[in-house]
Amino acid sequence: MQQRRRRRGRRRGRRSLIAIVSGPWWFFLYVFWKVVGGFEAIGFWLANRWRHRQWRYLVQGMPAMLVFGAVGVVAVLAHQERGRLVDRYRNSAWRALEAENYPAARIYYERLVGLDRQSEANRHDLAVTLANLGHTERATAIMENLAPLDTTGFGQAHLWLARQILLESAAAPNPSALQQAYAHLTRAKQRLPNAAQVDWTFAQFYVATGRRDAAVPHLEMAAQQMPELYFELAFLLASLGQNEEALRAAQRARDHLRTRLAANPNDDQARLGLASVLTNLGDFDGAMRILSEGAALRPDGPYQQALAAALINRFDQVAAQAGQTDPQQIELLRLALRHDPNSQQALLRLIDLGQGSAADRKQAQELLQTLLVGGYATPFVHFVLGSRAWEAEKPERALFHLERAYELDSALTPVANNLAWILAHADPPDLDRALTIINSVLEHSPRDANYLDTRGQILVKMQRYREALDDLERALPGLPRNVALHEALSVVYRNLGQEQLAEKHDLLAQRLAEAQQGN
């Protein structure tokens, strides 16, 4: 009995042990069997279905499969490309900005800013691009967002804002705006302590606020990194009376520009800058030589005009030193016109030239006629000849030349105005023609007081007093001290029965004439 009990107990124990150990296993096996059974069912079902598949469906389904595959490939490529977009757009934007292709640069920067919102540099460059496209408001708003006035933001933005303020203040000085510019510059200096641009802008600020002496150290620091600024420094020092330092600065500018030019003879900016420096250093021949070399290297470059400008500059120096007309002056003008026959500055100087001796006048006249025969600046030459003839009291000749000038270039409104005046005051006067000409001038410039005065005078001569009154009264605010205008108004009011007003204008004309004679 005991043995049986023991066996039962052992069996029970064994069963318990088996149950304990294998119970969970049975459960897992059961679940596994069910899962496998499920998969088997699906597989069985699929296999049964696939027995009835038709290969023609695969052929017909190929287009969808291929297009789906292509879409998948494109999607993967597009996804991969997204990781490189920022760099690619930055490169494209930079290249566009360098090439000054601002419309394209705007598109790329806008996209770049959308892709990389954190980058201040991208937003700054976008603002610069927008400013170049004329969207100044938005550019300023972006910069102000990057560089608030009350905190230190992006250095380049502070610098840009300071420059903008200085630019606007140049036209209309505004003390509070200049204070803001100073604040921006201070913050820019904190962020960009070694940037030459900051010092250069500081110097500009001090010059704008009339503190030239404070500008000098900043300009000196800027010039160390930007040697082309030595030229500006020379001007500044010269204006402060520090001539020796100015000379030294000019020499350093000269040396720097020479080095640059030696490295790249086609550097127009360096060559023109060097010519300016040499001119200011009194080395006129050196400047001419530099510019002549440039003209030889690049005949279609800006050097002919630069040579003419240098010669005119020299002419002014000589004219200031000489008390009377010097043959050298004519030669200088002749050379200037040879380099740039269309130089209006040279032609204008020709008008006043030769007021002295008959030989000088004749020489100037020949020079002008040579230009006319050569077909250079013909309308303007006619204008100059006509003006000179009028001053020489040769109205027929003046009329001829001015008419030619106006016929060749109707935009020469001063010419037309003079022509109309002459026609109205000729003997006999051609008032209708004069009125036609001055009407066409007023179509271009309807508010010009001089032209209104001319027409008013012509209408007075035509005895159309009511119309003349309109023009003369509109011209009056612009020419309050014109004696002829007041005399004409007096005539008009008298003819319109306004005696009192006529007398007042008479009195004014008299007083003004006396004052001008006294002067």
Partner: protein
């Protein structure tokens, strides 16, 4: 009702159709159809006005053919439950009445669908419904999406097409900028208009796909797969179209953005989408072949797996071709052995299922039921024809005409401190989401520049948020305000929006809608505006508000600024908006007075 039942060669109980459908039933159908006509005509006009719904005549023909083809073999003797008939008829009548009272073409469409379902069950019973419901389902494509959801769908599709195209253009290294639904390249700008959104091909492709699914007896799983595939292919095809237009237009300056080139691209896109849908269907057929009756397989599949397999198989494969043949199709395509096996199996199955399923007796509609139907719908139909019985009272409907053409001089050169500096007229396509016509005046003051525009015509208040989103604007704040808040005694209101774009681009917009007699509209966003006509029908309508069915225009002020506008700037803009509104209102009032005078003169002459 007497009916003759026979056992036909397919072993199915059928009826003698000529006696099953009596004259009373025919009258009932005719009355129900006629009752819907007054609402169907404006519905058809509305569908025709929207270019993406212009396929509806073809769809109606197709659904009609499908329904007729499938309905021929239906067992109409099965009848239905009278409770269901009553319930459906009540619902259909209620919907039709609501549509007439609220003058809603959308509700009219829902009423038509409910009535058609009701008629199918009423006179054909469950048997006819079981056969014809796919054709009925296809008709839902003609029901316009409610609450301007089709506009939202257009905008969403425009955005999807734009974003996908942008991704591909980046992969092609074509640098560009996306702003809303505008793709900008150096020297070129492409607006992804409604036509390029794919909305036209979307509805047409979905209709064709549904036809394919119904005709080919696919199962529910294939329905879901193929419809999803159709949506995908429409988006892909349209994205390809956008990419092609951008590349061809920017690189070779080909005229693909408008005219015949644009139309050809659209046709190609549609054909491509349809082709890919068909190809996808064949691919699915290869990967998941249709179920065929296999006795060996059926035998082995009994037991605990049989239910799962049968359910799963039916769900995937739909009806087997043999079962479809038993239902009256494809008999010629099945072998004789299959047929005999199938006939016996299916007949046995149908008897067992009918015994199993029938719990209550189904009946044909009694004469009194048909009579009630005729009376109810007859009254509804007649009521719609009597002016004022259901619709708005006479005299409130404004002239059905957009405002007179405007010119620069219609706005004063000086409006307070604002000076007019520009004017232009913009004419777009008639179903452009923004507007058909825009008259735009530009005003300037102290460096601020504002665009005042008059846009339309619209049928109702037009929410500008979607159009502005298409231009890349994000709405930071939207507020409806009543005119009474600003001290005016007129009803209605206007909406103010504060918008922003990427990086220092902000805008302030004010807009309000009016009819051509300058009566204001209450701004509505969604459903609640529709309650106004009900209130008007029940109580005294507000004569000062625009009629619900009148043509409307919208006055819009748009001011863009790099910085967020200050309150002072907003007040300036509000002043200008209300000055312009009052100016136009004055003109409109003068026009109405002139018309009244002319009318009285004509009457005097007649006397």
């Amino acid at each position: 009702m007497a009916s003759v039942t026979t056992l036909n060669t397919a072993g199915v109980l059928s009826s003698d159709r000529s006696e099953a459908f009596s004259r009373w039933m025919a009258a009932g159908v005719a009355v129900v159809v006629l009752a819907h006509l007054p609402m169907l005509i404006p519905l058809a006009a509305r569908l025709w006005a929207a270019e993406h719904y212009q396929f509806f005549p073809l769809l109606l023909l197709g659904a009609g053919y499908l329904g007729y083809h499938r309905g021929r073999e239906a067992d109409v003797t099965r009848g239905g439950l009278w409770e269901w008939r009553l319930l459906m008829a009540s619902l259909a009548a209620f919907l039709l009445a609501s549509a007439a009272v609220m003058n809603s073409t959308w509700l009219a469409a829902i009423a038509v669908m409910a009535s058609s379902w009701m008629l199918l069950y009423f006179f054909g019973g469950a048997g006819l419904l079981a056969r014809v419901w796919p054709a009925w389902l296809i008709l839902w494509l003609v029901v316009p999406l409610p609450l301007n959801m089709d506009r939202e769908l257009i905008l969403s599709m425009q955005h999807i097409a734009t974003q996908w195209a942008s991704g591909v253009l980046d992969a092609m290294r074509l640098r560009h900028l996306v702003s809303g639904v505008v793709i900008e390249l150096p020297g070129h700008e492409f607006l992804i208009e409604e036509a390029c959104s794919g909305i036209h091909s979307f509805f047409a492709t979905m209709a064709c796909t549904l036809f394919l699914l119904v005709l080919s007896h696919r199962g529910w799983f294939r329905w879901a797969l193929l419809l999803a595939a159709a949506v995908f292919w429409v988006l892909v095809a349209n994205t390809l179209r956008v990419i092609a237009i951008v590349v061809l237009g920017s690189r070779w300056n080909l005229p693909v953005t408008e005219g015949i080139g644009h139309e050809l691209m659209g046709a190609l896109v549609f054909l491509m989408a349809i082709g890919l849908v068909l190809s996808t269907d064949r691919l699915f057929l290869f990967l998941l072949p249709e179920r065929r009756y296999d006795p060996l397989y059926e035998g082995r599949s009994k037991g605990r797996r049989s239910f799962f397999k049968r359910w799963f198989g039916r769900w995937i494969g739909g009806k087997s071709r043999q079962e479809a043949a038993v239902a009256g199709k494809y008999e010629s395509k099945i072998s004789a052995s299959d047929r005999s096996t199938a006939d016996a199996a299916t007949a046995d199955e149908s008897i067992r299922s009918s015994v199993r399923k029938r719990r209550r007796p189904r009946t044909q509609p009694a004469r009194w039921e048909t009579l009630v139907l005729i009376v109810v719908f007859g009254v509804l139909g007649v009521a719609q024809l009597i002016p004022g019985a259901l619709s708005m009272p006479q005299g409130r409907t404004a002239q059905d005409k957009f405002i007179e053409p405007m010119a620069a001089a219609d706005m004063p050169e000086q409006m307070g401190d604002w000076r007019r500096v520009g004017y232009e007229t913009v004419i777009r396509s008639p179903d452009d989401p923004q507007s058909y016509i825009s008259y735009v005046w530009t005003y300037q003051k102290d460096g601020q520049r504002v665009r005042m525009s008059l846009e339309g015509p619209y049928l109702r208040w037009h929410n500008l948020v979607g159009c502005l989103r298409g231009g890349g604007w994000r709405t930071d704040q939207a507020r409806h305000r009543a005119y009474e808040e600003i001290g005016e005694s007129i009803p209605g209101g206007f909406t103010e929006l504060i918008l922003a774009k990427e990086l220092q681009q902000n805008a302030f917009v004010i807009f309000a809608a009016f009819d051509s007699e300058h009566r204001p509209v209450i701004p509505t966003a969604r459903l609640f505006g529709r309650l106004a006509p009900i209130k008007e029908a029940l109580g005294r309508p507000d004569e000062r508000l625009a009629a619900d069915d009148s043509i409307k225009y919208q006055l819009v002020l748009f001011q863009e600024c790099p910085l967020p506008l200050s309150e002072a700037q907003k007040d300036d803009a509000r002043d200008l908006f209300h000055q312009v509104r009052r100016h136009l209102s004055g003109q409109a009032i003068a026009w109405v007075e002139i018309k009244d005078i002319l009318k009285s003169v004509q009457q005097d002459r007649a006397m």
